[in-house]
C-alpha cells in the first residue's frame, strides 16, 4: 500500500471532542438497587421495574458470548455507570433555550438540527446521553395520530402500548446483551403509526454518547399498525475517548397486516485511534417482526464507526407474503472489527427476503458477514436471495463470510452468492494513467461497490454515507 493511500485512511476522527455539560451520574456498578434507582428516577410503573429485574436475574445466569469473530478485553460490568442525565434545567420553550454548549456540539458535528429538520423535512428527536432534550415536529405528527417520542415519555403517557409490545420481539432473555439492556435501558425512541397512516416524513433520531464510561442502553420500539408505513433514520457520532465505551441497544420493530417499516442507520461512532486504542463497543440487538400479511421490514445500515461492531438486524417473517430486506455496508479500518449480518427467519407461506451485504476492510481490520436464512417447515414457497461481497484494501486486513442456510421445506428457493474484489495498485494506476487521482478513484470504486445499498437510503442519508465512506478510506488505498 503506497504512502498516499495510507494518508487517506489515516485522517483523525473529526468528531472527537467532549462537551462539558454537568451530568447526573449514578454510581458505578450493577445490582438490583441500581436498577431500582433507574426505575424510580424515571418514575416507572411497577410492571416495568419487574420487567427490568427479571431481565437482570436472567442476565446474571448468562454467559458472555464468544462465538463472534471479534476480540476484546473482558468488560468489567461493575465499572460502568448505568445512568446519566444532563441536569434538569428550567423547561425549554424553544430551541434557543437549549444549552449553547450542546448546540455548538451539534454544529461541530455538522448537524444544525433545527435547520436540518426544517430544510430536510425531518423531525429530529435528539437524544443526548440517554435523555431526550428536544423534540420537534411532534405536533405535526400528532395531527395524523403518529406518536414519536422518547421511550421514557411513552412509558408515562402510553403505558398500555409499551406494556403490550415491549420485549415481544426481543424477549428479555434473548441474549446476553439484550438481557443487560432490558435490565438497565435508560432511554430511546418510541414510534407508533396507527392504522392506515403513511408517515408524512422520515423520522430521525441522532444518538450521541457523551459522558465518559457511561454505558449506553437505548431501547427503541416501533409499531406500524395495519396498512401503516414509516421510514426511520438513526444516525450516530460520538466524541473521542481513550477508554472503551459499551453500547448495547435493543431495537424492536412490529409490522401488522400490510404495514411497512424501513429502518436506516448510519453509524459513525468513535472507532479508536490508529493503534486500536479506545473506541465504542457496539453490541446491538435489532429485530423486526413482520407479523401481518403482506407486511414488510427493511433494514439498511452503513456501519463505519465503533471499535467493535456486533449486530445482526433480523426479520421474523411470520405473516403470509411478508417481506424482509437487509442492505448493509460495513467499513473497517485500522484495528476495527465488525461482525455483522442478518437473520431471515421464514415462517409464513410465500415469504420473501433479500440480503445485500458489502464489507470493506482496510488497515489491520477484520470484517465478517454472518447470516442465517432459515426456512421453517411452514414457510411454503419461501424465497431468499443473498449477495455478500467483500473488498480488501491492503494485505493486512481480513474479510470473512459465514452464511448459514437451513432449509426445511422443499418448495423453498434459496440462493446465496459471495465474491471478493479489491482496490489495488493496478486499479489505481489505471485511473492515474487516465488523469484521475487516487482520492477520486477510491471514492468512485467504493461508491460503485456500495451502489445497491446506497440506493436504499433516503437521499440526504445517501449523500452523508458517500462522504463518510470516502472520508473513512481516504489514504488507505494507493
Amino acid at each position: 500500500m503506497s504512502a498516499a493511500l495510507q494518508n487517506l485512511v489515516n485522517q483523525p476522527y473529526k468528531h472527537g471532542f467532549v462537551t462539558n455539560i454537568e451530568s447526573d451520574i449514578a454510581p458505578k456498578g450493577l445490582n438490583e438497587d441500581i436498577i431500582r434507582l433507574i426505575s424510580s428516577k424515571k418514575n416507572e410503573p411497577e410492571w416495568l421495574l419487574t420487567f427490568r429485574l427479571e431481565a437482570y436475574r436472567r442476565w446474571l445466569n448468562m454467559i458472555e458470548p464468544t462465538w463472534q469473530n471479534v476480540k476484546y478485553p473482558k468488560i468489567n460490568f461493575q465499572n460502568i455507570s448505568y445512568y446519566s442525565a444532563p441536569k434538569p434545567k428550567k423547561k425549554l420553550a424553544s430551541m434557543d433555550e437549549v444549552d449553547p454548549e450542546l448546540l455548538r456540539t451539534f454544529e461541530k458535528l455538522g448537524i444544525p438540527m433545527h435547520e436540518r429538520a426544517a430544510l430536510a423535512g425531518v423531525a429530529v428527536d435528539v437524544i443526548f446521553d440517554s435523555v431526550s432534550v428536544a423534540t420537534t415536529y411532534k405536533e405535526k405528527l400528532a395531527e395524523v395520530g403518529i406518536i414519536f417520542c422518547s421511550i421514557s415519555e411513552a412509558v408515562q403517557r402510553y403505558p398500555e402500548l409499551i406494556r403490550q409490545y415491549l420485549g415481544t420481539v426481543v424477549p428479555p432473555g434473548d441474549n446476553y446483551y439484550a438481557a443487560l439492556n432490558s435490565a438497565v435501558f435508560t432511554d430511546g425512541s418510541f414510534c407508533f403509526i396507527p392504522k392506515g397512516v403513511k408517515c408524512p416524513m422520515d423520522l430521525s433520531t441522532y444518538f450521541r454518547i457523551n459522558t465518559e464510561e457511561s454505558g449506553q442502553f437505548e431501547r427503541t420500539l416501533i409499531i406500524a399498525e395495519e396498512g401503516a408505513s414509516v421510514s426511520y433514520l438513526e444516525g450516530c457520532t460520538a466524541p473521542r475517548f481513550d477508554t472503551n465505551q459499551l453500547h448495547a441497544a435493543v431495537v424492536e420493530l412490529i409490522a401488522l397486516d400490510d404495514a411497512d417499516i424501513k429502518y436506516s442507520t448510519v453509524q459513525n461512532w468513535y472507532a479508536g485511534d490508529e493503534n486500536g486504542v479506545g473506541g465504542i463497543y457496539n453490541f446491538v440487538t435489532k429485530r423486526g417482526l413482520a407479523k401481518g400479511r403482506n407486511s414488510r421490514i427493511s433494514w439498511t445500515q452503513v456501519e463505519t464507526g465503533s471499535a467493535i461492531t456486533w449486530k445482526y438486524p433480523s426479520c421474523i417473517l411470520r405473516g403470509e407474503n411478508s417481506v424482509g430486506e437487509f442492505y448493509s455496508v460495513a467499513v473497517t479500518n485500522h484495528h476495527q472489527q465488525a461482525d455483522t449480518g442478518t437473520k431471515m427467519i421464514h415462517i409464513g407461506p410465500n415469504t420473501r427476503s433479500t440480503i445485500v451485504s458489502k464489507g470493506i476492510s482496510a488497515g489491520q481490520s477484520n470484517s465478517s458477514y454472518r447470516g442465517l436464512v432459515r426456512i421453517t417447515p411452514t414457510a411454503r414457497n419461501a424465497r431468499n436471495y443473498s449477495q455478500c461481497d467483500s473488498m480488501l484494501i491492503g494485505s493486512q486486513c481480513g474479510a470473512h463470510t459465514f452464511p448459514y442456510i437451513q432449509v426445511q421445506n422443499n418448495s423453498a428457493q434459496v440462493e446465496h452468492e459471495a465474491s471478493t474484489s479489491k482496490i489495488g495498485e493496478d486499479q489505481l494506476f489505471y485511473f492515474a494513467q487516465r488523469g484521475i487521482d487516487a482520492e477520486e478513484a477510491v471514492s468512485m470504486i467504493i461508491n460503485g461497490f456500495c451502489k445497491e445499498v446506497f440506493q436504499q437510503l433516503p437521499l440526504e442519508f445517501a449523500v452523508e454515507a458517500t462522504k463518510l465512506l470516502s472520508f473513512k478510506l481516504e489514504g488507505s488505498v494507493g
Partner: protein
C-alpha cells in the same frame, strides 16, 4: 496441558481395546504416534450438536453401541467378491472390517508402485512414509482422527516414486461384513514429485448391519505431481460412517477428487486440503444422494496457504424422503497467498416435504489480491425445465426423475474410471426411479 474432559464412552472404548491387547509394532515412530494420539484422546470428548462443527449432525446414537474391533474376517462367496471389483485391471487392496486381506488384493503393474501394510512397515516404505504418516491428518482437535491414529491396527501405505505414472487405478476397497464391529482403516498415499496416479477409495457392505467405520486417509501430492482421487461411500443402510481425508498439495501439483456419499444411516466426511506450495491446484467435487432417514454431512476445508493457488469446488446434495443433508465448505486464504483463485458452488435439491438441508459455505480471506467466490442454492427442480420436458411429452414424474438424474449426473461424469462410472450411473438410475 489442557483440561481433562474425560468422556465415559471413550473411557469404555479404550478399556475394551486394552483388553483386546496391543498389536505388535515394528517401527518405533508408529508406536510413538499411537501413544501420542492415545494420550490426546484423554482430553477430548465425542462432539455433540452444541459444537459448532457438529451442530446439524447428532451422533449421540453412536453412544448406544460400543463397537468392538473385528478380530477375524469372514469371507463371502466369490460372486459377491467379484461384484465389488472393478472391470479394469487395477492395483487392488482389500480390507474386510478394517483388516487388510492380502489374499483378495493384487497388484497389476510393472512393480514401480510401492505398497505395504502397516503391520509390515519396514525398509524403504518406512523411510519414505515417516514424514507423512500421522502428520497430515491432525488429531489434536478431532477425536475421530485421534481414535483412528491411536488404533491404526491395520492400514496401507502407498508410494508412487518420483516421475512414475501409474496407468491402472489403485482400487482400495473397504468392505464391511455386516457384523456389529468397528473398523479403523488407515491409508497413506504419497505421490512423489511429478508422479501420477488415480486412486479409488470405496466403502461397500456385503450385508446389512449396524457397523462403524472410522477411516482416515492422508495424501501427499508432491511437486508437480497429479492425483485423481475418487471416493465412493456405499455403506449399509444402518451403518455409521465417519471419515477424514487430509491432503497436502505441493508446488504446482494438482489434486482432483470426486466424493460420493450414497450409503450409511449417518455419514460424516471431513475433507481438508492444504494448497501448501505455490501454484498448487485442486478440484474437489461431491454428491450426496440420500433418502429415507439418512443423514449425510460433508465438511470441506480448502486452505490456500501459498500464492497463485487455484481451487474449484462443486458440491451437490439430493435429499429425498426424511433425509437430512449437511454441507459446510470453508475456503481459507492465508495472508500472503496472493493471486489465489478460489471458486465454490453448492447446489442442493430437496425432493420431499420432509427433506432438510443445512448448508454453510464460508470464505475467510486475509489477502487482498485474490479472486474468491462462492454460491449456494437450495431448491426444487427448475420449473421451466420441467415444463419443457412435459411439453415434449414426458409424464411429470418421468420428467422429474430425469432432471434429478441429470442433476447428479454432472458429478458422476467426473469419475474417470469407466466401469465405476457405469456402475454409479446405474445406481443413480435406480435411485431416481428411472429404471
Amino acid at each position: 496441558m489442557s483440561t481433562v474432559i474425560w468422556d465415559d464412552y471413550l473411557e469404555k472404548l479404550i478399556e475394551s481395546w486394552r483388553k483386546e491387547g496391543e498389536p505388535s509394532r515394528t517401527v518405533s515412530y508408529l508406536n510413538r504416534l499411537r501413544a501420542n494420539a492415545l494420550s490426546r484422546i484423554e482430553s477430548l470428548r465425542l462432539p455433540t450438536i452444541r459444537d459448532e462443527e457438529w451442530r446439524f449432525t447428532d451422533i449421540s446414537s453412536l453412544r448406544n453401541t460400543l463397537f468392538p474391533r473385528a478380530s477375524t474376517a469372514s469371507l463371502p462367496g466369490l460372486d459377491s467378491q467379484k461384484s465389488t471389483f472393478l472391470d479394469e485391471p487395477t492395483c487392488r487392496l482389500v480390507f474386510v472390517d478394517g483388516q487388510y486381506m492380502p489374499g483378495l488384493s493384487g497388484l497389476t503393474d510393472d512393480g514401480s508402485i510401492i505398497v505395504c501394510s502397516l503391520s509390515e512397515l519396514t525398509g524403504i516404505c518406512a523411510s519414505k512414509t515417516e514424514q507423512y504418516l500421522g502428520q497430515l491428518a491432525d488429531f489434536q482437535d478431532d477425536v475421530f482422527v485421534a481414535l483412528n491414529t491411536a488404533l491404526m491396527h491395520d492400514g496401507i501405505c502407498i508410494v508412487i516414486p518420483a516421475n512414475v505414472s501409474i496407468t491402472v487405478p489403485v482400487h482400495i476397497l473397504y468392505i464391511t461384513s455386516g457384523k456389529e464391529v468397528a473398523a479403523y482403516p488407515r491409508c497413506l498415499l504419497v505421490a512423489e514429485s511429478e508422479a501420477e496416479v488415480t486412486i479409488v477409495e470405496e466403502y461397500v457392505a456385503w450385508q446389512e448391519g449396524v457397523s462403524l467405520t472410522n477411516a482416515v486417509t492422508e495424501i501427499y501430492v508432491g511437486e508437480s505431481a497429479r492425483v485423481n482421487h475418487i471416493r465412493v461411500q456405499r455403506e449399509a443402510s444402518q451403518a455409521f460412517h465417519i471419515a477424514n481425508n487430509s491432503t497436502f498439495v505441493a508446488k504446482t501439483a494438482h489434486y482432483d477428487s470426486v466424493n460420493l456419499a450414497l450409503g450409511a444411516r449417518i455419514s460424516r466426511f471431513d475433507q481438508k486440503i492444504t494448497l501448501a506450495g505455490e501454484g498448487a491446484e485442486c478440484q474437489i467435487d461431491g454428491l450426496a444422494l440420500i433418502a429415507d432417514r439418512q443423514l449425510a454431512d460433508t465438511h470441506t476445508f480448502i486452505d490456500h496457504a501459498s500464492p497463485h493457488g487455484r481451487s474449484r469446488q462443486l458440491h451437490k446434495c439430493i435429499v429425498d424422503e426424511s433425509a437430512h443433508g449437511v454441507f459446510s465448505g470453508e475456503i481459507m486464504v492465508r495472508p500472503h497467498s496472493q493471486q489465489t483463485d478460489a471458486r465454490q458452488l453448492n447446489h442442493n435439491l430437496l425432493l420431499s416435504e420432509k427433506a432438510r438441508m443445512d448448508t454453510k459455505p464460508q470464505l475467510e480471506i486475509f489477502a487482498d489480491d485474490v479472486k474468491c467466490a462462492h454460491g449456494a442454492t437450495v431448491g426444487q427442480l427448475d420449473k421451466e425445465s420441467l415444463f419443457y420436458l412435459q411439453s415434449r411429452g414426458f409424464a411429470e414424474e418421468v420428467a422429474r426423475n430425469l432432471l434429478t438424474y441429470a442433476f447428479g449426473g454432472e458429478i458422476i461424469n467426473r469419475v474417470i474410471v469407466a466401469s465405476l462410472r457405469q456402475r454409479l450411473e446405474e445406481y443413480i438410475l435406480v435411485r431416481t426411479r428411472i429404471s
